[in-house]
């Protein structure tokens, strides 16, 4: 701020945000965890080669006749780092690691889809008003009031097997996630469009998309960040529900959502089974949120020099 730079070009501003983000210890922690998780997901095949177990092979010797993992903590040991899955004896470490691939992809991918549609529709509807608003609002109403379950069951029947399931899941989950975002974004856009600085931009002859892009969206960003980071875990949960309906990623491909769903009823007997995938989901969500909060605060000029 003290350097004698002329108008701060976006790059400089970005550097600024980056610098402030880096100073935020929590955001940095979040970033490190998020990067680690993504890296672990990418390197899953490699890592499981090191651990010596893939997520598919049954090991019925690791479970009792009734399917309960043998040994303490759900079978944790040098052999199975996170223990094994009840009923199958599959290696939980491998399952959690490979599950990260599915879940992060779906969680983040579907969130992006939902946000993209929600923000695009909500912001344009709120800004343009008139028939477009009416149409967009009705569409939002229809999608929101629409029985997603019916749709998914129908889809499971008609979707040709050639479509990659993962892509389908991302699209479907994302598609049913956008209406709330669109509504909130629309409401905020309507409030923003009355603000003098937006009117000023209009008075400058800015095209609608320019006003949206330059003034509305940046001011919507904090809200969108919140939704984005909060949406990830519910999207991962949705993925599990979908695979239950037969539209999801078919078993035995691991995913956190499914593991968590399976683990719930085992929570008393084998809490570790819930703890590892659940903890992974929690860590991912928390890190995204920390990062999101950090970003939000770094982007807020009014909080710039606030010291603790």
């Amino acid at each position: 701020m003290t350097e004698m730079v002329f108008s701060a070009p976006p790059a400089a501003q970005r550097a600024h945000v980056w610098r402030r983000l880096r100073r935020d210890r929590w955001a940095v922690t979040g970033g490190v965890v998020a990067v680690t998780l993504v890296a672990a997901a990418l390197a899953a095949p490699l890592l499981t080669r090191v651990s010596g177990h893939d997520p598919y092979t049954y090991d019925l010797d690791a479970v009792s006749g009734g399917g309960v993992p043998l040994g303490a903590g759900g079978g944790i040991g040098a052999e199975h780092w996170f223990g094994v899955e009840p009923m199958t004896g599959r290696d939980l470490f491998a399952i959690v690691l490979h599950g990260a691939r599915t879940s992060l992809l779906v969680g983040v991918g579907a969130t992006l889809v939902a946000i993209a549609i929600g923000v695009a529709l909500g912001a344009t509807a709120g800004f343009a008003g008139g028939w477009w608003d009416a149409l967009a609002s009705r569409t939002t109403g229809v999608v929101f009031g629409f029985p997603a379950l019916v749709f998914m069951i129908a889809l499971s029947a008609v979707a040709p097997p050639e479509i990659p399931r993962l892509l389908l899941v991302v699209l479907v989950v994302g598609f049913f996630g956008w209406p709330p975002i669109a509504r909130v974004v629309r409401a905020q856009t309507i409030a923003l469009r009355e603000r003098t600085f937006v009117v000023a931009a209009v008075a400058l002859g800015a095209r609608p998309h320019q006003v949206l892009w330059r003034h509305i969206l940046p001011n919507l960003l904090p809200t969108v960040l919140v939704f984005g980071t909060m949406l990830v875990p519910s999207m991962i949960g949705m993925e599990a529900a979908l695979s239950f309906l037969g539209v999801g990623v078919p078993p035995p491909t691991p995913s956190w959502g499914r593991s968590i769903g399976d683990a719930i009823s085992w929570v008393q007997l084998d809490p570790m089974y819930l703890l590892f995938p659940g903890g992974a989901l929690f860590a991912a969500t928390l890190s995204f949120n920390l990062l999101g909060d950090g970003l939000r605060d770094a982007l807020d000029p009014r909080l710039r020099e606030l010291r603790r």
Binding site: T57, G65, G67, V68, T88, F244
Partner: protein, 528 residues
Amino acid sequence: NPSGPPGETTAQKGGTLRILSSASEFDLDPAKSQSLAITSSGLVLRRLTTWDISPGKPPAVVPDLATDTGTTTDGGRTWTFTLKDGLTYPDGSAITTRDIKYGLERSFAPELSGGLGYHKALLAGGDAYRGPYSGQSLDSIATPDDRTITFTLTSAYGDWPWIVSMPAFAPVPKAQDDPADYGKNPVPSGPYRIASYTAGSEAVLERNPAWKQETDPVRTAGPDRIVFQLGQDTTVAAQRLVADSGDDRSAFGANFVPPAQLAQAQANPAVKDRIVTSSPGALAYLVINTKRVTDLRVRQALAYATDKRAYQVASGGETGGGLATTLITPGIPGRVEYDLFPADPAGDATKAKSLLAEAGRTAPRLTLLVRSDGQWSSQAQALQQGFARAGIQVELRTEEYEAWREHVTSGDRDDWDLTLTSWQPDFPSANGNIQPLFASGEIGGGGFNLSRYSVPEVDALIARATAEVDPAASQALWAQADRRILQDVPVVPLIYTRNSFLRGSAVQNFVIGEFPAYPNYLKVSLKQ
């Protein structure tokens, strides 16, 4: 063999029994009911015959409203029953065979479809009959007087005494029939009647004063009141029964205990006693779509490659069921044990591979249709990994129960190779094990011949066995059919499932016989 409480103690009277059920509706309309003779509807409605179920004894058909289990004079085509003395409804009027005829007739009405309908195809003229509401009656049911009823069948049928134990054979007084609501307030003939019903949440049964113990040898009618708590989540219900506190002490679960809770309960000595596990009952099997997997050697390879052990573990291990090799299930009279594909429980991948090589299909890719409810998904995965060892790539496709059912029973959606299901006969005769699953007439249109298995020789064998009135002769024929069918490998038997139930500590006489693998509600009583 059944574990749980030792033998039967004499039924104590009194108390309120609670039955925790995941079902959310409670409809006792005899025409729409598929309930077994010994479960809920049996508490309120009596039929011509019923089942005598006790642990350690083979199931027997015994008279209920009728004086005997039926007489036939022409080798099983016409059957005559006579009602006992002194049977009345709560209003004092007598139970008559006319009411039974009417009850049966209304079961033909399309608006009341949905129940067990074995009689509909068996009674002469039944295929064209559409119920009494448009004024017609079914002449193959004759009621010469109020206490006699005679059935004329399309062909001889030896198991008819079992058929008349089904819900539709309960009396329905015509004057009190309101087709839309009858199921919520049926006129009782058994020891209980419905006192109140709150949709989706509970149904309360209270004593029927008109019921007389001396006319009824199988019902003990212990509790004063029976409360069905509906819409209970099975996991939560199991947890409640494990906790065994307050009212839950006098409750039992109507649903199987989920594997995790079962393992948990077994690990807890205080709870272990209260688990009641059935003998091996329903047959869980792998269906092979014979229209698509046409090569017998491939089917044989599947039979050898099947990892029954993993399947068993996925079903809860030993308590989940014993390994299966035959179609007729244990507990059914006349069952003969054999194993056409002897292999290690984990499967014989080598043998399977060599069969595949013979067939010229070393790496077949098959689609396994899985229903999304229950444990089917983990069970399917257990098979999948076994098949993979023999080089058979199986892709799982999950579907909701109803979608799955439409898929596999409609007969015209042949885009799958394998599916998993289980079958428990509706009455303890090998007929119920074989005919619905392998008769060519049961393909499509809602029938359960999921393998699309159609062999004239087998159909003929089934027809012969069905018509045989002599139990021993018929049992031999069924055993022959069992072996004959499995030679073609339309299915791979996996396990005979054992069902486990939990009861509260005050619940007595909560027992499961050799058939069916469900507790006998009719004899449950409470410790006073």
